[in-house]
């Protein structure tokens, strides 16, 4: 496969798409309905290992598991591979584990979108980390990374896509080309990706890990099913009876989930649909302190490295009072007059 593949693209394939290895893993995964609630600290220490391939849910700054990313940095996890599947603030947080005297948290990155925070601009520290050459990179696109997870969720080694080819993005990826047996035309294929661990923030979960998401699901339907281990953080912990009253709303079933962490406001400073809008002021502060190394380090020290957990970080940024304002921005957006940056 890799010989054939190398004719088309030259990027590194960080994990081989081995369906049978994945099947063996999923066979041995515990499937009892047990109470999986635990602290973020425990979840990260049990389910995120050095050298793991980590994949985030949500959309970079929208419905992200901030508390879990902070804890990964705080616990100094090393040599992770990462799926940068429109990774924005989540990637920025993880970059705090590189070039800050804490070893090297990120080692390999599959890229669809990194370094930028959309309209807010590029992260100076993420640029330093990526431009230094210390991370091994492979290029993809939002759809093809999503498709890689879809293939893994389906349990097949690859899936075809009609876009993507003809570009340097393709050449720097680990995609392949095959001849379609029906049309005899060449088509691009992307390899399945089974992350070692995924981290998804949801609206509601029960203690067993049955989860609901409101708003866009981005790639989380597939990500939850593709990942070998899954840490879920939730705004609300709900009862199993409530799940059973409306099973149509369950998007992630318990048997995909390893840990359930109850973290109210856990997407902060990201957006959480129907709950609170992103804290643009705080995100601007992140970008601005990163311009200067010393300021960045003391910012990280104060807000992440020296804090016990997300609650402390949340309080340091205004806590409930700040959330009230962000809730207003979320629920009554027409009335708002904040100074939000806008760009393509």
């Amino acid at each position: 496969m890799s010989n054939e593949r190398s004719k088309a693209s030259s990027g590194p394939l960080f994990r081989e798409p081995d369906c049978d290895e994945a099947r063996a893993w999923f066979r041995s995964k515990p499937k009892e309905m047990t109470d999986k609630t635990m602290s973020v600290k425990e979840a990260v220490s049990r389910f995120v290992n050095d050298g793991d391939y980590l994949s985030p849910g949500g959309f970079g700054g929208d419905r992200i598991a901030t508390a879990v990313f902070h804890e990964i940095v705080r616990q100094k996890k090393q040599d992770l591979a990462f799926a940068g599947h429109t990774a924005t603030h989540d990637f920025q947080i993880l970059c705090a584990g590189n070039q800050t005297g804490r070893g090297q948290l990120l080692k390999q990155v599959d890229i669809a979108y990194i370094v930028g925070l959309e309209a807010r601009g590029l992260s100076p520290h993420a640029r330093r980390v990526v431009e230094s050459g210390e991370i091994e990179l492979c290029e993809w696109t939002n759809y093809t990374l999503s498709l890689r997870l879809q293939a893994a969720a389906m349990g097949v080694p690859f899936l075809p896509v009609r876009g993507f080819a003809g570009t340097d993005t393709f050449t720097r990826s680990a995609a392949g080309r095959v001849t379609c047996p029906y049309t005899q035309q060449d088509i691009s294929v992307v390899p399945a990706l089974w992350p070692d661990v995924a981290v998804i923030h949801v609206h509601d979960a029960d203690c067993y890990g049955n989860c609901r998401i409101r708003g866009t699901s981005v790639a989380d339907y597939y990500l939850a099913r593709a990942s070998k281990r899954l840490i879920v953080s939730c705004e609300k912990l709900i009862s199993n009876e409530e799940i059973r009253r409306d099973p149509t709303s369950t998007i992630i079933p318990f048997y995909c989930v390893d840990a359930v962490c109850h973290v109210p406001f856990g997407s902060y400073p990201g957006n959480m649909p129907y709950e609170y809008y992103s804290d643009e002021e705080h995100l601007r502060e992140w970008l601005s302190v990163e311009r200067e190394r010393a300021a960045h380090l003391s910012f990280l020290q104060r807000l992440i490295f020296d804090t016990q957990g997300f609650d402390e970080y949340f309080e340091l940024n205004g806590g409930k009072n700040r959330i009230e304002e962000l809730r207003r921005q979320e629920l009554q957006p027409e009335e708002e007059n904040d100074e939000i940056p806008h760009d393509e």
Partner: protein
């Protein structure tokens, strides 16, 4: 002495872009100027335009412009909140007429770079975010629109990295790469001119110059050779009603048009 135009170059760009979108079309947009153009079209000539956002938002009644293409405004009072794959697959099966893209560099074939500037991929001078959904949308939507400032740093002979395919290196190249036939770059709208693509060569061609802009201005700001229409038109000035809606309803805080 010329009288100052009653609109800014950005307003003209947004109005020109809005005018290309037919009623009943489907368009995947990002944040910023493209979103303003689609909202303006929806409030004027194309009330049945369906807006889609790559993270899964479909048909929102946008209360304000989103800041992230995945934030909750992209499905505010929307018709559907779905997945990224669903949006991209709707493009792949041929249902999406337009998308808007940008980038750090564009060449004569409408290929775009949003990945890196520099000679060494591993050690770039500047690392940009990468494709995001751009390469997917630029491959799979029927018509690609580009809204961008016009200068020699952007309009280059050779891209440092081709993130998103335009016409690649000429006629037939998209099809050879397996991309859907009949798709590709449609218009490039800048602060100086509106450009399309020559049917035969697939190279960029100036179709209209904005009022008070000379062809020399456009050429001086473009590193590659531009084709030009035999009878060069002047870009239509935005009608006052359209400008009024843009200023009052689409971007009342002047986030985009104030630039």
């Amino acid at each position: 002495m010329t009288v100052a135009a009653p609109y800014t170059p950005m307003e003209l760009m947004i109005c020109a872009a809005a005018s290309t979108l037919e009623d009943g079309a489907m368009v995947v947009v990002g944040t910023g100027a493209p979103c303003a153009a689609a909202m303006l079209a929806q409030k004027t000539t194309a009330p049945n335009l369906t807006l889609m956002f790559e993270a899964g938002g479909v048909g929102p009644l946008l209360p304000r412009m989103p800041i992230s293409v995945g934030d909750s405004r992209t499905f505010y009072e929307g018709l559907m909140a779905t997945s990224m794959s669903d949006i991209m697959e709707t493009c792949q099966r041929g249902m999406v007429d337009y998308t808007f893209l940008g980038g750090g560099q564009i060449d004569a074939y409408g290929n775009l770079n949003s990945t890196m500037i520099g000679k060494d991929y591993q050690r770039p001078d500047v690392r940009f975010p990468g494709s995001g959904g751009a390469s997917d949308l630029g491959s799979l939507c029927w018509r690609v629109m580009v809204l961008t400032p016009h200068d020699r740093r952007r309009f280059v002979k050779k891209l440092d990295f081709m993130t998103t395919p335009g016409y690649i290196d000429g006629p037939g190249a998209r099809e050879d790469a397996g991309l859907p036939a009949g798709s590709g770059p449609h218009k490039v709208i800048t602060n100086l001119a509106v450009m399309g693509f020559d049917e035969e060569t697939k190279r960029m061609r100036v179709e209209s110059l904005h009022p008070d802009v000379d062809l020399e201005d456009v050429e001086a700001n473009t590193e590659f050779e531009l084709l030009q229409n035999a009878d060069m038109a002047i870009t239509a000035e935005p009608p006052p009603e359209q400008l009024e809606i843009l200023r009052r309803e689409v971007d009342p805080h002047r986030y985009i048009i104030g630039r």
